[in-house]
């Protein structure tokens, strides 16, 4: 979600529909819908300022479930290190800030560690959709804060996923780095952290009172257009 400093020049100012101090907070769904509509419409002036990224990397996730069926014999369910594809699109919001959408797909195995014995429950894909705001820290670094939702897509409806994978709210933050390759393309790298609380219908049915706090970190490299 990086942008070269040159993209935020004078013409972008004509796109500011409302000064920042007059903006009211909008629900993420409305913001997302507005951005999608803008990107889909792609008037020439917007298209010229829209910035797209595609990156590949890996995502690490903390434990999804901690359990103990027999005393002192912990069971954990983890997603493992997941190869990740991130696609992003953003638009200028102010001279310093951009707003955009990011979709991250990460695929790994859901692995059970049962008192030291590891086994695979099923394959697991996560699709994360976020609406984010980013801004320049210092060239070539930008920060990003985002909010959205994560969908778990198990390969098989089994165990904790026997009633399917859940949707959960997610909040995140990150850093982007970019370096121009030519007039159009840039090399970009992203570091992302996000947080959500994991549970499933099967876990609730089994009496799990609180969702598990899940922290994820992703490192990706790709190109910007």
């Amino acid at each position: 979600m990086t942008a070269g400093a040159g993209r935020l020049g004078g013409p972008a100012a004509r796109l500011y529909l409302t000064p920042m101090h007059r903006l009211r907070p909008l629900p993420p769904t409305r913001v997302a819908a507005a951005i999608v509509a803008l990107l889909a419409a792609r008037p020439a002036s917007l298209a010229a300022q829209a910035h797209f990224t595609a990156r590949l990397g890996v995502t690490w996730s903390s434990t999804l479930v901690e359990d103990e069926i027999r005393t002192d014999e912990p069971i954990t369910l983890e997603a493992g290190i997941a190869p990740t594809l991130v696609l992003g699109a953003d638009l200028p919001l102010t001279p310093k800030n951009r707003v955009g959408l990011e979709v991250a797909l990460a695929r790994s195995d859901a692995e059970v560690d049962d008192a030291g014995t590891t086994s695979t429950l099923t394959s697991l894909t996560t699709a994360t959709f976020t609406v984010g705001l980013d801004g320049r820290i210092r060239d070539p670094l930008r920060w990003r804060a985002a909010f959205g939702a994560i969908k778990y897509l198990p390969g098989e409806d089994v165990g904790v996923f026997r009633e399917g994978g859940p949707w959960r709210w997610v909040a995140g933050a990150g850093l982007d780095w970019s370096r121009p390759l030519n007039d159009r393309l840039s090399l970009t790298a992203g570091l992302r952290y996000d947080y959500h609380r994991f549970t499933t219908d099967a876990l609730r049915d089994q009496g799990f009172a609180n969702p598990e706090a899940v922290h994820r970190v992703a490192v990706t490299v790709g190109v910007g257009l």
């Binding site: 069926i69 049962d114 014995t117 086994s119 165990g159 947080y195 009172a209």
Partner: protein
């Protein structure tokens, strides 16, 4: 940004609580012999005689028992080849003089069921043999088959005892059409209890 900050703060308040699983009954044979299918033996291959809708009842019973687990501890599939099966389900009365060491028996007015376990010391000789058969034709026969097959497969999957509670599917003459919390928690727990009987061919 304030929403984001709030969520980060909320993260620090999360406290994970595994549920108490206290509703279980004695599953061991004679209070000592404990068995479950090891991970490397999964899925358990179940062959079912194709009469009286038994394959459908067996598939439902397998799904019911699998739903007791969160981590894939048990998996079972119906198979077409009886010679490769770990569990055989036949629609007939149990033989009077079979080669077995333990028979877990269930009799209702409409039908009856039995599970024969051939236990030799610390080994369970496969296949496990399950019998279900009609006693009284009528409207209740289908439900009886369904309950009985769920009960007998409970034995085949590791509950080598009967529940003392009428509210459980593993009661010796169950009326429950489904699994109780005690049935689920007993099955789940025994798959985390060190077995002293292993399957063998």
């Amino acid at each position: 940004m304030s929403l984001f900050a709030g969520m980060v703060l909320a993260a620090g308040c999360t406290d994970v609580q595994a549920p108490a699983r206290a509703e279980r009954y004695e599953w061991r044979l004679d209070g000592t012999k404990s068995f479950h299918w090891p991970r490397e033996a999964l899925p358990v291959r179940v062959w079912v005689e194709d009469t009286e809708d038994l394959p459908a009842y067996a598939a439902g019973a397998i799904a019911d028992w699998k739903s007791a687990f969160l981590y894939g501890e048990l998996d079972a599939r119906l198979v077409d080849d009886s010679t490769e099966a770990d569990v055989l389900v036949r629609n007939t009365t149990p033989p009077a003089s079979p080669v077995f060491s333990v028979r877990l028996f269930r009799r209702a007015p409409e039908c009856q069921g039995a599970t024969d376990l051939d236990i030799d010391g610390e080994l369970l000789q496969l296949p496990v043999r399950v019998y279900v058969s009609e006693r009284l034709a009528g409207a209740g026969l289908a439900a009886c088959y369904r309950l009985t097959l769920r009960h007998e497969l409970g034995h085949a999957f590791g509950i080598w005892n009967h529940s003392p509670s009428e509210a459980d599917a593993m009661y010796r003459d169950p009326a429950l059409d489904g699994l109780s919390d005690a049935d689920r928690q007993t099955m789940e727990y025994l798959y985390h209890f060190p077995p002293n009987v292993a399957p063998a061919r």
